[in-house]
Every structure is written in structure tokens, then in C-alpha cells.
Amino acid sequence: MLTHMHTNKAAACLVFCGFFTASQVLADAAATPQDWIDRMGNAVQATSYEGTVVRVREGKVETFKVVHTMTDGIVREKVIIQDGNGLEIIRNGNEVHCILPDRESVLVEEWNNQSTLFSTLPSSDIRFGSEYDVLIKDFERVAGRKAAMLAILPHDNYRYGYRIWLDTETGFPLQTQLIGEDNNPLEHVKFADISIQENILASTLAPSYSTDNWKWYTEPRQTVKHEVESDWIADKVPPGFRVVSTLQKTLPDAADPLTHIIYSDGLVTVSVFVAPVTDEKKAGRSSVGASNSYSTVIDDYRVTVVGQVPQITVEQIAKSMRRSR
């Protein structure tokens, strides 16, 4: 009798669990790419987690220990770079402390926005169908969790593509790949392990060092920053890019203010920096990781364009800049 009851319960449980799992699969399968992106947008803001992130690019592997919480609208993060100089980044709201253990120094910076470490994606501004297509390609496991893989495919060579693996339970991005020309992964950021949980102890976010007697650098990199109207425009930007912000910044040791124009296609941002020429250098291109830059001189101003986009894009934008009056 007892055995029979156990059997019935087990059968009921199997039916229920099977139904739940099947329902979940159906729900996941029915979700549109936009549904997933919306879920991701919520998840990167609201999810608290800690884990290990691995970044692979240009043949180099870097590992980061990361903790992220969101409490009462305040983002708190801790990132420890496990290689090199062991840089530790502690974020409490807008204030960011970069701790350099080798130098026993702390650099204080300010981030004037609510973006989080993993807000790689996009706002509703992105115009899927115009510059990119997005589709769900696969379901597989990442960091031990089931994930849906989204492929974001650019329509032209002016931008990179992305593959993003989203946790099916929370929508959190567990893995991202930046895809270059001919589908080459240029950069790979992946959680090797992750623990998603609501209650992360405050002590987990504390610095690993007692920094009271260390040297503190509190001078911000940019002393003044405000929105301005600029007379610099680009005649021929790649399709879909438009100005989203124009800032004027005064940098330490700089005699003249720097104009910073930010272009976006809804997914990626490209920065245009305009400053009076102070040296004899004419033009050049460079790259750091998957970011490219191009610098040239126009009307006695140095115009430098930087972004995580192909070289052709920064070059075209730089060369098409001109003063409108």
C-alpha cells in the first residue's frame, strides 16, 4: 500500500514536472528575439550575482571575479582582475574606486550613469531589420545553466555582429561573442561559473585590502562635462548612425576644451573627439582589442574617432567630419 502510494506520488510528480518542463520549453521556444532582449534588459539591471568571467581576445585570456548587486536602485559592483597588476574595481552607485594593490594606490572615478557591467545590449533604439537582424539560434548550456543563443547579424561591414547566450531562467547574459568580418569571433566574454541569488552579503562587495593609508587619487579624468551644441557634423556617416550626445570636456593639463560627439546605431557607440592641433602628426589608425580608431587633421583640428566597430567605420566618420559654420 505504502509502495503504491509512493508510486502514485512519484507518477504525479513526474507528470507535473514533465508538464512544467515542457511548458517552460514551449514558453522559451515561443519567445521572440525581442522578448529575450526585453528579458535581458530587465535581468542586467535587477539580477544580483557573483561569478568568474573569462575574456578571450587576441589570443589572450583574462579572468575576472565579479560581484553585482542592485539594492534600492543603487548598483554595487566588485571586479577583481586575476591577472597582471591585480586591479580591483569597486563601484558604489556612481562612485568607482580602482584599487592598485601593487602601487598601494586608489583612483577615484565617477560614472554618471546607471549602466551596469553587463548592459551590453541594447535599448529599444536598436532598429532590428534596418541595420541588424536578430534571431534565436540555439539552446545550450553555459556555466551549467540552460541558455538561449541570440545571433545579432549586421547587414553591412560597418558594424560587428554579436552572439549572446541568455540564461533561460532569468534572461541574464551568460556569454557574449563579438563577431567580426567573415564571422570571426573577435572577443569572447563568458561566465565560467555564476551564482545568481537575491541575497549577496555586503561583505562580498568590500575591498580585498585595507586602503586607508594608501595613496588616493581623487582628481577625475574629466573635470568638466556638459552637453553642448557643436558646429562639427559628419557628411557621410555609415547607415543607421546618428548623434546621440555632444559633450564638452576639459581634461587635466589641456589648454583647450575637448568636444566629444557620440554616435550610435542603437547597439554600438562611436566617439568622435575634436581638439585643436597641438603637434605635427597628421593621421593614423590604431586598435586596442576589437576597438579601432582613426585620427586625422581637419581645419587645424585633430579629429579622432574611436569605437568597437570595424576600421572602415571610424575612418569614414573621421574623414567626413567638417565644421558647418
Partner: protein
Amino acid sequence: MNEAIRMQVSAFVDGELPDNEADLLVRRLSQDADLRQQVSEYLAIGRVMRGEYTVQGGNALRERVAAELEERPLQEPADTVVAKQPSRYVRPVAGAAIAATVALAAIFGLGQVADVDNAMPETAIVADETVSETVPTMNDDDLHQYLILHGYDSNSFSTRVTSLQIRADELSGEAAAEDPEAEDEVEVTEPVTSQP
């Protein structure tokens, strides 16, 4: 990558995979660039997690696959090449040679990660062929400054972290300049352990 492949790779790296299975694994990897990428990441991540910077068995596997690729005509599907794209200015000149090089480099990034302790990204300055007769490069300090500023306004994890890495490196330089006796310490890197 399924569990069977994962186990085969592990066994190969440990020198425990029978020869006939090793041959099959090498052949399969030589024919499937996606799988090579997955195996590369699997080995690289495992190595990082174990705190190892070299993996002899991984190198052996890479060499075997490279040898296999050299023996057969290369038919690399356009969407499966894994390594960093060669310069578009080079490709028309080098053609098939570049394709073969990319495919070989793409076998594993493993051979290139021995310098994993060099976390600070290098700024690669590339000459501009259209202006190279004037002054082909820009001032590194300016570029670093712009990369930092761009990173602050970026919504990409990678870009923002890189921006802070550059800023921290800059700060290290400033601190060293202020404290000449500490100059030698710039090269010292010690592993950092997060406190619970």
C-alpha cells in the same frame, strides 16, 4: 561540444586516448573550425581555472591538427574561421597563404596565451598606407585618453574594463614617476585573492 568530445579531449591532453581514437579526434577537429573554437575555449578556460598557463597536451593536440590541415587542401567555410581577421589591406596580396595561416592560428589560441600575465592591452599602431609618407602614427597619450573617455560612456563590459585598465596603468606610471625608488616594482605582479 558534447560530453564525448570533451572526454576525448581531456583524455588526449592527459595522454590517455588510444591512438585510433586520437586519430579520429584530430581528423574531426581538422574538419570542423567551430569545434576547434569550442575545444580551444574549453581547454583555455579549464587552464585558467586551474591557474595553469601552459598545457603540454593541448600543444600536442594543436600540432597534430596543424599537421593534419597541412596535408589536406584547406576548405575553410567562411563562417567558421576563428582567429582574428587579418588586415583587409593584406588579404588581397596574401590570398590563400593568409587563409591557411588564419586556419592554423585558429586551431587554438592556446599557443598565444602563455603571456596571460600581460593583462594590459597593447596599443597596436598600424600605419596608414594613404598617409604613411607624412606621419603615420598618432600620439599614444592622446589615444589612451580618448579610449578612457570612450570607455566611460560605453555600455560594454569589455570596453569599460579596458578603459579602467588603461587608466590604472596610466596611474601606475604617474605613481612610479612620483616615487622613483619604486620604479622596479612596476614589473612585479602578484596574484590577488578575493576575500570572501
